[in-house]
Protein backbone atom coordinates (compact mmCIF):
# COMPACT_ATOMS: atom_id res chain seq x y z
CA UNK A 1 0.00 0.00 0.00
CA UNK A 2 0.88 3.62 -0.22
CA UNK A 3 1.85 4.03 3.40
CA UNK A 4 4.53 1.40 2.85
CA UNK A 5 6.73 4.05 1.30
CA UNK A 6 9.73 5.00 3.41
CA UNK A 7 9.32 8.46 4.88
CA UNK A 8 12.70 9.47 3.63
CA UNK A 9 14.74 7.07 1.52
CA UNK A 10 18.10 8.65 2.12
CA UNK A 11 19.36 12.12 2.80
CA UNK A 12 21.63 13.59 0.17
CA UNK A 13 24.70 13.39 2.40
CA UNK A 14 24.70 9.59 2.41
CA UNK A 15 24.18 9.24 -1.31
CA UNK A 16 26.36 10.37 -4.17
CA UNK A 17 28.32 13.59 -3.83
CA UNK A 18 26.65 16.93 -4.49
CA UNK A 19 28.58 17.30 -7.74
CA UNK A 20 27.34 13.93 -8.97
CA UNK A 21 23.80 14.86 -8.02
CA UNK A 22 24.10 18.13 -9.93
CA UNK A 23 25.29 16.20 -12.98
CA UNK A 24 22.36 13.78 -12.69
CA UNK A 25 19.91 16.68 -12.34
CA UNK A 26 21.34 18.58 -15.26
CA UNK A 27 21.33 15.51 -17.49
CA UNK A 28 17.70 14.84 -16.50
CA UNK A 29 16.91 18.38 -17.61
CA UNK A 30 18.45 18.02 -21.08
CA UNK A 31 15.11 17.31 -22.85
CA UNK A 32 13.63 20.31 -21.03
CA UNK A 33 16.48 22.52 -22.25
CA UNK A 34 16.06 21.31 -25.82
CA UNK A 35 12.36 22.13 -25.60
CA UNK A 36 12.55 25.37 -23.63
CA UNK A 37 15.22 27.27 -25.56
CA UNK A 38 13.31 27.50 -28.87
CA UNK A 39 9.99 28.20 -27.12
CA UNK A 40 11.60 30.81 -24.85
CA UNK A 41 13.11 32.35 -27.94
CA UNK A 42 9.72 32.55 -29.62
CA UNK A 43 8.30 34.16 -26.48
CA UNK A 44 11.10 36.77 -26.46
CA UNK A 45 10.40 37.66 -30.08
CA UNK A 46 6.62 37.90 -29.59
CA UNK A 47 6.89 39.91 -26.38
CA UNK A 48 9.11 42.48 -28.03
CA UNK A 49 6.81 42.69 -31.08
CA UNK A 50 3.82 43.14 -28.76
CA UNK A 51 5.50 46.22 -27.26
CA UNK A 52 7.00 44.94 -24.00
CA UNK A 53 10.33 46.49 -23.09
CA UNK A 54 13.35 44.14 -23.10
CA UNK A 55 13.50 44.53 -19.32
CA UNK A 56 9.87 43.49 -18.82
CA UNK A 57 10.27 40.66 -21.32
CA UNK A 58 13.18 39.24 -19.31
CA UNK A 59 11.48 40.00 -16.01
CA UNK A 60 8.48 37.86 -16.95
CA UNK A 61 10.69 34.84 -17.67
CA UNK A 62 12.50 35.43 -14.37
CA UNK A 63 9.58 36.00 -11.99
CA UNK A 64 6.64 34.23 -13.67
CA UNK A 65 8.40 31.33 -15.48
CA UNK A 66 5.28 29.70 -16.91
CA UNK A 67 5.34 29.07 -20.64
CA UNK A 68 1.71 28.99 -21.70
CA UNK A 69 0.61 31.90 -19.52
CA UNK A 70 3.52 34.07 -20.70
CA UNK A 71 2.36 33.70 -24.31
CA UNK A 72 -1.24 34.41 -23.33
CA UNK A 73 -0.18 37.46 -21.31
CA UNK A 74 1.78 38.84 -24.26
CA UNK A 75 -1.34 38.51 -26.41
CA UNK A 76 -3.42 40.28 -23.76
CA UNK A 77 -0.88 43.09 -23.34
CA UNK A 78 -0.89 43.61 -27.10
CA UNK A 79 -4.67 44.10 -27.11
CA UNK A 80 -4.48 46.51 -24.16
CA UNK A 81 -6.34 44.20 -21.78
CA UNK A 82 -6.65 45.49 -18.19
CA UNK A 83 -4.13 44.28 -15.61
CA UNK A 84 -6.67 42.34 -13.56
CA UNK A 85 -7.72 40.24 -16.57
CA UNK A 86 -4.08 39.37 -17.31
CA UNK A 87 -3.58 38.33 -13.69
CA UNK A 88 -6.83 36.35 -13.40
CA UNK A 89 -6.08 34.56 -16.69
CA UNK A 90 -2.61 33.71 -15.37
CA UNK A 91 -4.15 32.31 -12.19
CA UNK A 92 -6.62 30.15 -14.13
CA UNK A 93 -3.94 28.84 -16.48
CA UNK A 94 -1.55 28.02 -13.63
CA UNK A 95 -4.02 26.65 -11.10
CA UNK A 96 -3.17 23.14 -12.32
CA UNK A 97 0.18 23.44 -10.55
CA UNK A 98 -1.68 23.08 -7.23
CA UNK A 99 -2.30 19.43 -8.07
CA UNK A 100 1.34 18.87 -8.99
CA UNK A 101 2.54 20.63 -5.84
CA UNK A 102 0.15 18.52 -3.72
CA UNK A 103 1.27 15.31 -5.42
CA UNK A 104 4.94 16.05 -4.65
CA UNK A 105 4.36 17.15 -1.05
CA UNK A 106 4.57 13.64 0.52
CA UNK A 107 8.05 13.32 -0.98
CA UNK A 108 9.32 16.62 0.45
CA UNK A 109 9.22 15.82 4.14
CA UNK A 110 11.99 17.34 6.28
CA UNK A 111 12.60 20.11 3.77
CA UNK A 112 13.02 23.52 5.40
CA UNK A 113 10.40 26.19 4.59
CA UNK A 114 12.94 28.23 2.63
CA UNK A 115 13.87 25.19 0.55
CA UNK A 116 10.21 24.46 -0.16
CA UNK A 117 9.70 28.09 -1.17
CA UNK A 118 12.63 27.95 -3.58
CA UNK A 119 11.56 24.56 -4.94
CA UNK A 120 7.96 25.65 -5.60
CA UNK A 121 9.05 28.77 -7.47
CA UNK A 122 10.40 26.72 -10.38
CA UNK A 123 7.75 24.00 -10.44
CA UNK A 124 6.50 23.75 -14.03
CA UNK A 125 4.73 21.03 -15.99
CA UNK A 126 8.08 19.84 -17.25
CA UNK A 127 10.04 19.94 -13.99
CA UNK A 128 7.12 18.18 -12.27
CA UNK A 129 7.18 15.51 -14.96
CA UNK A 130 10.90 14.99 -14.41
CA UNK A 131 10.42 14.59 -10.65
CA UNK A 132 7.72 11.98 -11.21
CA UNK A 133 10.54 9.68 -12.29
CA UNK A 134 12.02 9.76 -8.79
CA UNK A 135 8.85 9.24 -6.75
CA UNK A 136 9.41 5.49 -6.57
CA UNK A 137 12.55 6.28 -4.52
CA UNK A 138 10.19 7.49 -1.78
CA UNK A 139 11.69 10.98 -1.54
CA UNK A 140 12.75 13.72 -3.90
CA UNK A 141 16.49 14.23 -3.76
CA UNK A 142 17.14 17.84 -2.91
CA UNK A 143 20.32 18.59 -4.83
CA UNK A 144 19.12 16.77 -7.91
CA UNK A 145 15.77 18.56 -7.80
CA UNK A 146 17.36 22.00 -7.56
CA UNK A 147 19.76 21.13 -10.39
CA UNK A 148 16.77 20.24 -12.60
CA UNK A 149 14.92 23.42 -11.63
CA UNK A 150 17.82 25.83 -12.08
CA UNK A 151 18.83 24.26 -15.39
CA UNK A 152 15.26 24.46 -16.66
CA UNK A 153 14.73 28.10 -15.78
CA UNK A 154 18.22 29.07 -16.99
CA UNK A 155 17.38 27.61 -20.41
CA UNK A 156 14.03 29.46 -20.44
CA UNK A 157 15.71 32.76 -19.60
CA UNK A 158 18.48 32.07 -22.11
CA UNK A 159 15.90 31.40 -24.81
CA UNK A 160 14.08 34.63 -23.94
CA UNK A 161 17.32 36.57 -24.15
CA UNK A 162 18.20 34.99 -27.51
CA UNK A 163 14.78 36.03 -28.77
CA UNK A 164 15.45 39.59 -27.69
CA UNK A 165 18.88 39.83 -29.27
CA UNK A 166 18.19 37.92 -32.49
CA UNK A 167 14.69 39.24 -33.01
CA UNK A 168 13.66 36.19 -34.97
CA UNK A 169 12.36 32.75 -34.14
CA UNK A 170 14.43 29.71 -34.91
CA UNK A 171 13.17 28.63 -38.31
CA UNK A 172 14.94 25.30 -38.08
CA UNK A 173 13.08 23.63 -35.21
CA UNK A 174 11.22 21.35 -37.60
CA UNK A 175 14.13 19.58 -39.41
CA UNK A 176 15.73 18.72 -36.05
CA UNK A 177 12.31 18.00 -34.49
CA UNK A 178 13.16 20.20 -31.51
CA UNK A 179 9.40 20.73 -31.14
CA UNK A 180 9.09 17.03 -30.29
CA UNK A 181 11.56 17.10 -27.38
CA UNK A 182 8.94 17.86 -24.73
CA UNK A 183 6.16 15.62 -26.11
CA UNK A 184 8.58 12.67 -26.29
CA UNK A 185 9.83 13.45 -22.77
CA UNK A 186 6.24 13.26 -21.51
CA UNK A 187 5.72 9.98 -23.40
CA UNK A 188 8.79 8.45 -21.74
CA UNK A 189 7.94 9.75 -18.27
CA UNK A 190 4.34 8.55 -18.56
CA UNK A 191 5.54 5.07 -19.57
CA UNK A 192 8.03 5.06 -16.69
CA UNK A 193 5.31 6.22 -14.30
CA UNK A 194 2.83 3.49 -15.11
CA UNK A 195 3.21 0.41 -12.95
CA UNK A 196 -0.14 -1.34 -13.07
CA UNK A 197 -3.38 -1.62 -15.03
CA UNK A 198 -5.28 0.85 -12.88
CA UNK A 199 -2.70 3.48 -13.80
CA UNK A 200 -3.14 2.67 -17.48
CA UNK A 201 -6.86 3.30 -17.02
CA UNK A 202 -6.23 6.53 -15.11
CA UNK A 203 -3.89 7.82 -17.82
CA UNK A 204 -6.28 6.95 -20.66
CA UNK A 205 -9.24 8.56 -18.88
CA UNK A 206 -7.32 11.69 -17.94
CA UNK A 207 -5.87 12.02 -21.43
CA UNK A 208 -9.29 11.74 -23.04
CA UNK A 209 -10.89 14.23 -20.65
CA UNK A 210 -8.09 16.70 -21.43
CA UNK A 211 -8.62 16.24 -25.18
CA UNK A 212 -12.37 16.72 -24.66
CA UNK A 213 -11.80 20.00 -22.83
CA UNK A 214 -9.45 21.15 -25.59
CA UNK A 215 -12.04 20.40 -28.26
CA UNK A 216 -14.69 22.20 -26.19
CA UNK A 217 -12.44 25.28 -26.14
CA UNK A 218 -11.92 25.28 -22.36
CA UNK A 219 -8.47 23.72 -22.31
CA UNK A 220 -7.28 25.82 -19.35
CA UNK A 221 -9.47 23.72 -17.07
CA UNK A 222 -8.59 20.52 -18.93
CA UNK A 223 -5.61 19.35 -16.87
CA UNK A 224 -7.39 20.01 -13.57
CA UNK A 225 -10.61 18.30 -14.61
CA UNK A 226 -8.73 15.39 -16.19
CA UNK A 227 -6.65 14.84 -13.06
CA UNK A 228 -9.65 15.00 -10.73
CA UNK A 229 -11.56 12.51 -12.88
CA UNK A 230 -8.59 10.22 -13.48
CA UNK A 231 -7.31 10.03 -9.90
CA UNK A 232 -10.80 9.67 -8.39
CA UNK A 233 -11.78 6.85 -10.71
CA UNK A 234 -8.37 5.28 -10.12
CA UNK A 235 -8.93 5.18 -6.37
CA UNK A 236 -12.47 3.87 -6.91
CA UNK A 237 -11.29 1.05 -9.15
CA UNK A 238 -8.45 0.22 -6.76
CA UNK A 239 -10.95 -0.15 -3.89
CA UNK A 240 -13.33 -2.16 -6.04
CA UNK A 241 -10.56 -4.59 -7.04
CA UNK A 242 -9.56 -5.02 -3.39
CA UNK A 243 -13.17 -5.67 -2.34
CA UNK A 244 -13.67 -8.26 -5.05
CA UNK A 245 -10.50 -10.18 -4.31
CA UNK A 246 -9.62 -9.95 -0.63
CA UNK A 247 -5.90 -10.57 -0.42
CA UNK A 248 -4.13 -12.91 1.98
Amino acid sequence: MVSGMPANAQPDEQGPSATQEWMVGMSRAVPIVVGYVPVGLAYGVLAQKAGLSPLNTMLMSLVVFAGASQFIAVGLFATGAPAWSVIVTTLVVNLRHMLMSAALSPYLKRWRPGELAAFAFQLTDETFATHSQDLSLGAIRKTRAFAIHVTAQASWVLGTWLGLVTGQRITDVRPLALDYALPSMFIALLVLQIRDRVQVLVALLAGMVAVGFLLAGIEHWGVIAATLVGATIGVGVERWIKMRSPGP
Binding site: V63, K109, L176, S184, V202
Partner: protein, 109 residues
Protein backbone atom coordinates in the same frame (compact mmCIF):
# COMPACT_ATOMS: atom_id res chain seq x y z
CA UNK B 1 2.66 50.78 -23.77
CA UNK B 2 3.11 51.90 -20.17
CA UNK B 3 6.07 49.76 -19.10
CA UNK B 4 5.65 50.55 -15.40
CA UNK B 5 2.07 49.27 -15.55
CA UNK B 6 3.38 46.13 -17.28
CA UNK B 7 5.93 45.62 -14.50
CA UNK B 8 3.20 45.85 -11.84
CA UNK B 9 1.05 43.42 -13.81
CA UNK B 10 4.03 41.04 -13.98
CA UNK B 11 4.32 41.14 -10.21
CA UNK B 12 0.63 40.23 -9.97
CA UNK B 13 1.17 37.44 -12.49
CA UNK B 14 4.15 36.18 -10.47
CA UNK B 15 1.97 35.94 -7.37
CA UNK B 16 -0.85 34.27 -9.30
CA UNK B 17 1.67 31.69 -10.55
CA UNK B 18 3.64 31.23 -7.35
CA UNK B 19 0.63 30.83 -5.03
CA UNK B 20 -0.69 27.62 -6.61
CA UNK B 21 2.85 26.24 -6.83
CA UNK B 22 3.73 27.01 -3.23
CA UNK B 23 0.61 26.56 -1.07
CA UNK B 24 0.17 22.76 -1.36
CA UNK B 25 3.81 21.86 -0.63
CA UNK B 26 3.93 24.50 2.07
CA UNK B 27 0.80 23.25 3.83
CA UNK B 28 0.99 19.50 3.16
CA UNK B 29 4.63 18.43 3.21
CA UNK B 30 4.98 18.62 7.00
CA UNK B 31 1.87 16.56 7.81
CA UNK B 32 1.07 12.92 7.29
CA UNK B 33 -1.93 12.66 5.05
CA UNK B 34 -4.73 10.14 5.55
CA UNK B 35 -4.27 6.95 3.50
CA UNK B 36 -7.21 7.83 1.25
CA UNK B 37 -5.59 11.15 0.31
CA UNK B 38 -2.26 9.43 -0.31
CA UNK B 39 -3.93 6.83 -2.51
CA UNK B 40 -5.56 9.62 -4.50
CA UNK B 41 -2.36 11.66 -4.85
CA UNK B 42 -0.50 8.59 -6.05
CA UNK B 43 -2.60 8.64 -9.22
CA UNK B 44 -2.00 12.33 -9.86
CA UNK B 45 1.33 12.03 -11.72
CA UNK B 46 0.00 9.53 -14.29
CA UNK B 47 -3.17 11.61 -14.74
CA UNK B 48 -1.31 14.92 -15.06
CA UNK B 49 1.27 13.53 -17.48
CA UNK B 50 -1.45 12.02 -19.68
CA UNK B 51 -3.58 15.18 -19.51
CA UNK B 52 -0.63 17.27 -20.66
CA UNK B 53 0.49 14.78 -23.29
CA UNK B 54 -2.65 13.53 -25.05
CA UNK B 55 -3.80 16.90 -26.44
CA UNK B 56 -0.35 17.52 -27.93
CA UNK B 57 -0.40 14.12 -29.66
CA UNK B 58 -4.05 13.82 -30.74
CA UNK B 59 -5.07 17.41 -31.33
CA UNK B 60 -1.97 19.44 -31.98
CA UNK B 61 -3.73 21.97 -34.18
CA UNK B 62 -6.83 22.31 -31.98
CA UNK B 63 -8.80 19.54 -33.69
CA UNK B 64 -8.40 15.77 -33.53
CA UNK B 65 -6.12 14.30 -36.16
CA UNK B 66 -5.56 10.55 -36.40
CA UNK B 67 -4.29 10.46 -39.97
CA UNK B 68 -0.84 9.46 -41.22
CA UNK B 69 0.22 13.12 -41.38
CA UNK B 70 0.01 13.42 -37.60
CA UNK B 71 3.70 12.68 -36.98
CA UNK B 72 3.50 13.50 -33.28
CA UNK B 73 1.01 10.68 -32.80
CA UNK B 74 2.86 8.00 -34.76
CA UNK B 75 6.31 8.89 -33.43
CA UNK B 76 4.87 8.25 -29.96
CA UNK B 77 4.86 4.51 -30.71
CA UNK B 78 8.65 4.03 -31.07
CA UNK B 79 9.32 6.55 -28.29
CA UNK B 80 7.00 4.68 -25.90
CA UNK B 81 8.43 1.31 -26.94
CA UNK B 82 12.00 2.45 -26.21
CA UNK B 83 10.92 3.88 -22.84
CA UNK B 84 9.15 0.62 -21.98
CA UNK B 85 12.03 -1.65 -23.06
CA UNK B 86 15.04 0.36 -21.92
CA UNK B 87 13.55 2.60 -19.16
CA UNK B 88 15.78 5.30 -20.70
CA UNK B 89 14.43 8.85 -20.80
CA UNK B 90 17.14 10.23 -23.07
CA UNK B 91 17.00 7.22 -25.41
CA UNK B 92 13.26 7.58 -25.75
CA UNK B 93 13.46 11.31 -26.42
CA UNK B 94 16.18 10.81 -29.04
CA UNK B 95 14.20 8.08 -30.82
CA UNK B 96 11.05 10.20 -30.78
CA UNK B 97 12.82 13.24 -32.18
CA UNK B 98 14.74 11.20 -34.75
CA UNK B 99 11.49 9.60 -35.94
CA UNK B 100 9.80 12.97 -36.43
CA UNK B 101 12.89 14.48 -38.06
CA UNK B 102 13.31 11.50 -40.41
CA UNK B 103 9.65 11.51 -41.43
CA UNK B 104 9.80 15.23 -42.16
CA UNK B 105 12.95 14.78 -44.21
CA UNK B 106 11.77 11.72 -46.15
CA UNK B 107 8.13 12.61 -46.70
CA UNK B 108 8.25 16.39 -46.49
CA UNK B 109 5.36 16.45 -44.00
Amino acid sequence: MDQDAVTWTLIGMAMATYGPRLLPVWLLSSRSLPPAAMAWLRYVPAAVLAALLFPSLLANGGHISLGPRNLFLWAALPAALVAYKTRSLVGSVLVGMATVAAARYLFGI
